[in-house]
Amino acid sequence: MDCRRFRADLAAYLAGRLAPLDFDAMAAHEAECAACAERAAEEMDGIEDRAAARETFTDEWMREVLGRTAGRDCRAVQRLLAERLDGPFEPPLARVVEDHARACPACARVAGGMDALPALYAGLPRLGAGRKFTQAVVSRTSRTAPGFVETLAAMLRRPALVWEGALICALLTTPWLGRPMQRLTESVQEGPLTVQAEIAREAWVSFDARLTETHARLAGLASPPAVREPWTALRRVVARRASAAVGPGTRVGGWIAAARIWLRFLVHTETIDRPAESGRPSGPTLRDETGVTAGGARIEDESERRAAGLEPPAASFAGEDSTGDRPGNLEGFPRDLP
């Protein structure tokens, strides 16, 4: 007997229509196979539920049920005994179960144990959970103040810290190693086209554009100069470079790379910095929207600018002209970056 055969014959088995040998084979399989036993039990439940839906337990129905459970009386009765804990049966069914239990020692034993269960259940203590329990749970789940290591780890997980750290590094190392940015951007024109020089150039281009904007705004007195903007532009350049160097997703690596780039950027000023050659303007190329330099010369296009030795534009961060004077319309603009 296999499970498939069992399931095919299940209806006939429950209805008591099988030949004795087949019935025994089915019963043996049911005893061995838990899945099939569960299936048979569910089917039985279905039969009983359908009968219960009639709400009356007629003698005819009783005969039908007992006929279907022929040979399996004990199991059916024991299930009914278990079901009885949820509520009493209708008198006819109760009578059948009691009659069977009286006559059958195995079912009498189950009935005895079953009758004892409600009292045993009631004897189980009902535990009370007081304030101590609540406090214990809350203290186990409350967040404790993070220690130094946790704080550091949390800070390192902040993406913005990569760039903030790089900026702090730059600020700390500038007085020690570096030169003013103005000198750097001038000297880079003559230096090798290294990554550092490229960074400086990009930074300068970005800075120059913003400076021009500021200049224009000042000319129209539209708004005060945004003195932090050049730093933002420069920081973005470093950020982009650092990201390209270490790839996305490595924050600590990005932090280190950004710091390294800043450091090398500043050290580079020592190595390639040189005095401005004679004939090359070292001072102002600051121009307003009209293309007029602070010294009054008008530069029409890129070729003219190159001819004038102003490529890339080498205006000082402080907006000084060749004489070192500050243009009047850049009053208040910082003389040097930190």
Binding site: Q78, V110, A129
Partner: protein, 194 residues
């Protein structure tokens, strides 16, 4: 009174008071559920705390479309089952906790009745220890915790028919186990029996 779902929402926002209120609301039920699986007060206390700690860490995963109580019951039940399985692998113990001695001593019932109650409790816990995990679960959830068959079916993700079958089989096994355990006691004690 705020619903469980509201409290959970506030817990997720980091409201410690809401969390405490949630614990206070469910602690007794969970402690008793843990007791019915663990069989003694000490283990039940530890298990109930574990359940709440697990709940705290899983609150973020709670789907607000589901009823919190059902979801929490499933979580608690899983931990209880794990505990029960682990405990079945080591020798069962039912020490009478010191607190219970105190309770018995303070009780207004006579000493004979106290001893009898304790004995009955011992019988029941030992008999329940003999049950398979699924059977014990059915007994605890239906007979001791008082959940309906429908609720249990939802909790266990099983058809109601299967839950009923398990429950009836579990009751039969438990009844047989109770009788089996009582028989030696009855033989020894003369009058004790069914």
């Amino acid at each position: 009174m705020r619903s469980d779902e509201e409290l959970v929402r506030e817990c997720r926002r980091g409201d410690a008071r809401a969390w405490e209120a949630l614990v206070r609301r469910h602690q007794e039920r969970i402690l008793n559920l843990a007791y019915q699986f663990a069989g003694n007060r000490e283990d039940a206390g530890d298990l109930a705390q574990e359940i709440f700690v697990r709940l705290y860490h899983k609150l973020a995963q709670y789907d607000s479309d589901r009823a919190f109580r059902t979801w929490f019951n499933s979580l608690a039940r899983n931990l209880c089952i794990d505990f029960y399985r682990q405990r079945r692998q080591r020798p069962a113990r039912h020490p009478l906790p010191v607190e219970e001695f105190h309770t018995l001593a303070a009780s207004t019932e006579g000493p004979d009745r106290c001893v009898e109650r304790r004995s009955e409790r011992e019988f029941l816990l030992r008999a329940m220890d003999e049950l398979a995990t699924a059977s014990r679960e059915a007994i605890v959830l239906k007979d001791l915790q008082g959940h309906s068959v429908e609720e249990i079916a939802g909790m266990l993700s099983l058809p109601e028919g299967t839950v009923k079958s398990r429950l009836f089989r579990a009751r039969i096994e438990l009844a047989e186990a109770v009788v089996r355990l009582r028989q030696p006691a009855a033989a020894g004690g003369g009058e004790r029996g069914l």
